[in-house]
């Protein structure tokens, strides 16, 4: 376990609550979007953007920055929230999400949103894209690293496994993949739609270094990243056990909130719950 201070953990926890509030407000505001998978990934995204990634909000295309790739593009509310909180664009802009003429498209668009690194929407392409980035970094002898978040539903996609094979073929130890193992995809539980288990063994069989963690425990997230950094010659997959809709009790583990926004009434309840969490930190 990495030695991290209580203060760091507390500040990350607070930030994650802030991101979750943004997610709820953004999706409620436009009455569309995908809150569930955004919230399950919120702690991993927070750890990356507020402790790990070397990025420069004033110079989003700084060539030596670390790259964050969101393969499950529908979860972009969490990405936009993190980018805004990190200073890539004004927090006010978050409420333009999915609206006409907004820089915050319904799914990520490269070149439009400061800080966004890939286009996603069709599932299953992000890990391959990350492989290309990681290969380029290595060719240029650059120390920057690539972090990719995949959904567990994305494990259904053949291209994910094409990417998995090519990552280990090239021994991409500068690539870390988080699998947001919230157990739910669009229409149901992953194990009903298309059984994935044993999933860790699958990634191991593809010659990845595999870690299984609680994806809502910052100490475990940071320790996993540190271990990934230490791991040579192989990419690291962090199977992150998460809860879809995490942070708002009535949304947790509910298939409905994959792609449904809160009602006006639910919005109040959700924000009240998140406020209480923030106060308790």
């Amino acid at each position: 376990m990495v030695d991290v201070s209580e203060e760091l953990i507390a500040s990350l926890k607070k930030k994650a609550v802030t991101l979750r509030k943004h997610i709820i407000r953004m999706t409620h505001n436009v009455q569309s979007g995908h809150p569930g998978g955004s919230m399950s990934a919120a702690d991993i995204v927070t750890a990356l953007y507020f402790h790990i990634l070397r990025v420069d909000p004033k110079n989003p295309t700084w060539p030596d920055r670390d790259r964050f790739v969101l393969s499950k593009g529908h979860a972009c509310p969490v990405w936009y929230a993190a980018l805004a909180e990190r200073g890539f664009f004004p927090v006010d802009e978050l409420l333009t999400f999915r609206k006409l003429n907004s820089r915050l498209q319904g799914h990520p668009e490269l070149g439009t949103t400061p800080g966004v690194e890939n286009a996603a929407g069709a599932e299953g392409q992000g890990l391959s894209f990350s492989v290309g980035l990681a290969l380029a970094a290595r060719m240029d002898h650059k120390p920057w690293r690539v972090y990719c978040i995949l959904g567990d539903g994305e494990q259904d996609v053949g291209q994910t496994w094409e990417a998995a094979m090519s990552s280990s073929k090239y021994g991409l130890d500068n690539l870390t993949a988080f699998i947001d193992r919230n157990g739910i995809q669009q229409e149901g539980r992953t194990e009903d739609i298309m059984p994935l288990e044993p999933l860790a063994e699958k990634w191991e069989a593809f010659n990845w270094h595999v870690l299984t963690i609680d994806g809502h425990d910052f100490r475990q997230i940071l320790a996993a990243i540190e271990e990934a950094h230490r791991t040579k010659g192989r990419p690291t997959a962090v199977l992150s056990r998460t809860v879809k809709g995490k942070g708002v009790s009535f949304m947790e583990n509910k298939i409905k909130y994959h792609g449904a926004a809160t009602s006006d009434e639910e919005l109040k309840l959700a924000l009240a719950e998140l406020d209480a969490q923030e106060a308790a930190i």
Binding site: A119, G124, F129, V131, L135, S166
Partner: protein, 320 residues
């Protein structure tokens, strides 16, 4: 320019060589492959620049996305395989990861069209121009022969943004020379004439020249245009041909549904509509056979172009 006798040359050989020459000049050029690298001749690039060559196996969607990632980090990746796999099999990956991102990925595909031959319809890609033209931001190249294929490599690398280039497995007549100037977006008038215009792409440019010779014997002066850029279309050259000759025949080794014929027709419809005839694959799948046999059976011949010329001239003259 008159037709034949043709020197038959391999576009793949020109492609492979041009890629190595480019690789020498530009260290940012990298190549990704999908278990067809020997056949499409990118393996030679791999031998020259092993650190800039990535064999990704039978995994074309991954190949295209990896290329996109490389491009996002400043490389100029060439992704090359057979056209059926490099276009249709990967369509939405190209759309999302290459075109929507506007990344500098160059997709170069051989084995386009019927002349793939004995492999049959699964491998005869007659719809790729249609698919790729439909994607915003995509530049679509159809080089007429070997020398022009080499020029496409250089021109694609020199421009910013996604490019799709398709060419043949079979040896094709060499109709251009290294000295001919070439630019993406420009159609070249390779033979002048004022009675009718024949617009071809790929190996059908040679067919157009043969047809122009035959028409000349009947006293008809046909203009021949090599349309090596299927997108963006050189509307000025096409419009001028429509105005000055009053009738157009298009010829492509591709379905007439949304191929260059359809592109030319829609381009002239807005400005100067004239009768048009389209020689190409008539909305059917191909089959096994030798390249020449297939071109004949599916009507991709100089004779059909001549018939088309007589047809458009008759329709035009009826209106006059």
């Amino acid at each position: 320019m008159t037709a034949g006798p043709w020197k038959m040359e391999s576009q793949r050989a020109y492609f492979g060589k041009a890629l190595i020459d480019l690789g020498r000049r530009n260290p940012n050029v990298v190549v990704v492959g999908a278990d067809t690298t020997e056949s499409i001749k990118t393996i030679d690039f791999g031998k020259s620049f092993p650190d800039r060559f990535f064999q990704l196996g039978i995994a074309e969607p991954n190949m295209i996305s990896v290329a996109a990632g490389l491009a996002a980090a400043g490389k100029i990746p060439f992704a090359a395989t057979y056209s059926v796999f490099g276009s249709a099999h990967t369509y939405n990956v190209i759309r999302q990861n290459v075109a929507y991102t506007n990344l500098n990925v160059k997709i170069f595909c051989s084995h386009a069209g019927l002349t793939v031959g004995p492999d049959g319809a699964t491998h005869q890609m007659n719809e790729d121009i249609a698919l790729m033209r439909g994607i915003p931001r995509m530049t679509v190249l159809v080089p007429a022969d070997g020398p022009e294929t080499a020029k496409c490599v250089d021109a694609a690398a020199a421009m910013k943004g996604p490019v799709y280039c398709r060419f043949s497995r079979t040896n094709v007549p060499t109709v251009t020379s290294a000295a001919d100037d070439f630019a993406i977006g420009r159609a070249r008038v390779v033979r002048d004439g004022s009675d009718v215009t024949l617009i071809g792409c790929g190996l059908m440019v040679a067919r157009c020249l043969e047809a122009a010779d035959a028409l000349k014997r009947a006293g008809i002066q046909a203009r021949v245009i090599n349309l090596s850029t299927a997108k963006p279309l050189d509307i000025a050259t096409i419009d001028r041909a429509a105005r000055e000759t009053g009738g157009i025949v298009t010829a492509e080794e591709h379905t007439v549904v949304h191929g260059i014929g359809a592109a030319v027709a829609s381009a002239i419809a807005g400005n100067h509509p004239v009768p048009i005839a389209m020689v190409g694959v008539q909305d059917v799948f191909g089959e096994s056979g030798e390249a020449e046999e297939l071109l004949r059976k599916y009507g991709l011949t100089a004779e059909k172009i001549v018939d088309g010329a007589h047809d458009v001239m008759k329709r035009r003259d009826r209106k006059r």
